[in-house]
Symmetry: C5
Subunit: 90 residues, 5 copies
């Protein structure tokens, strides 16, 4: 899992039926201090997160299918939580 910041949405016109009713979010992978790493992922929203929010990204297929309660879902990443605070002890 890693920290992400929601930066937008992806609208897919022609797609697999699974993606018909799902909200596809663009999520920038960030460092613990909030700076972007330069990488991103497309994840399915499950916690009603919005642009600019810091989120917990779960980047694994089986985990994503569990969160979405769909054992046959073609999906690799979901947003598992909205992050309220990151406490760094360095």
């Amino acid at each position: 899992m890693f920290l992400g910041r929601v930066s937008g949405t992806v609208v897919s016109t022609i797609h697999h039926p699974f993606y018909g009713a799902r909200r596809l979010l663009l999520v920038d992978k960030i460092h613990p201090d909030g700076k972007p790493t330069g990488d991103y992922v497309i994840a399915i929203d499950t916690v009603d997160s919005g642009a600019g929010e810091t989120v917990l990204v779960i980047d694994e297929g089986d985990s994503s299918r569990q969160v979405l309660a769909d054992p046959s879902g073609p999906v690799r990443a979901v947003i598992g939580g909205v992050v309220g605070a990151v406490e760094v002890s360095r």
Copy 2:
């Protein structure tokens, strides 16, 4: 999942039977603003996408087997949708 742009096709002569009737596409991984990341993947087309189109790449084996409805398919990446718009709120 990530955004890709279809850049070509791969023709395999000698191959596993699974690849006989599949369309193998070359897909450049792109950033949300459309610039190439420098990485690419070979994915199986499932939405009749063509060169130059922006697509949703699902880069996981179990997801790919679900999309292709072939539980024993030796495949790791499929194109899950054609992307109509990427709305970035930064």
Copy 3:
């Protein structure tokens, strides 16, 4: 698996129920000599590890579900042990 150093905690407000009673740790990936690699992961603590400790990170979903004894847990990384010594023979 790789070596990590616990650098903080992540507090998630709205989240999947699985994360309600779990301790989410920020873990920096380190080289065998202790220097940070620049990468990090969020992992679930299972050995009561604290900030500054060197730990063994198991970065795989099925392994994590085994360690947590929860076959349906949406989780990709756990801390599998506290590292007492790294003996490099170079």
Copy 4:
């Protein structure tokens, strides 16, 4: 999946029984234009490919076990086909 170029073989003396009768190939990961990416993988040959040939690498455990028809094989990458042509439309 990605494109590779066979660059050699690996001979393992002491090994898991699974590797006794398998041909282990060194495969350089290449860009679609044929240039090496600098990365490589060790994959099991399944299409009798030889040094210098461009091949389709399937880098996933379950896919590899399907191709080798061995559900318990400890293997992560196989060569799934010999590539006859890469048609880039850029």
Copy 5:
């Protein structure tokens, strides 16, 4: 799979029971010519390999569980063989 060179051992004090009787090795990922890539992995030894030896690393959970004959083992990487020769045809 990739080539590694055993560079040391990891001693874990507090850990998951699975790691009680296992030998945890530090393994540097190397290029086919023997030069280090700068990356490393912690893998469980299965072929009695020692410091300085070139080994075949199998970096996948299900493969590792097969090699260790423990379907519930929380493990992602094992050493699957000692490499006797790498024949590069470039």
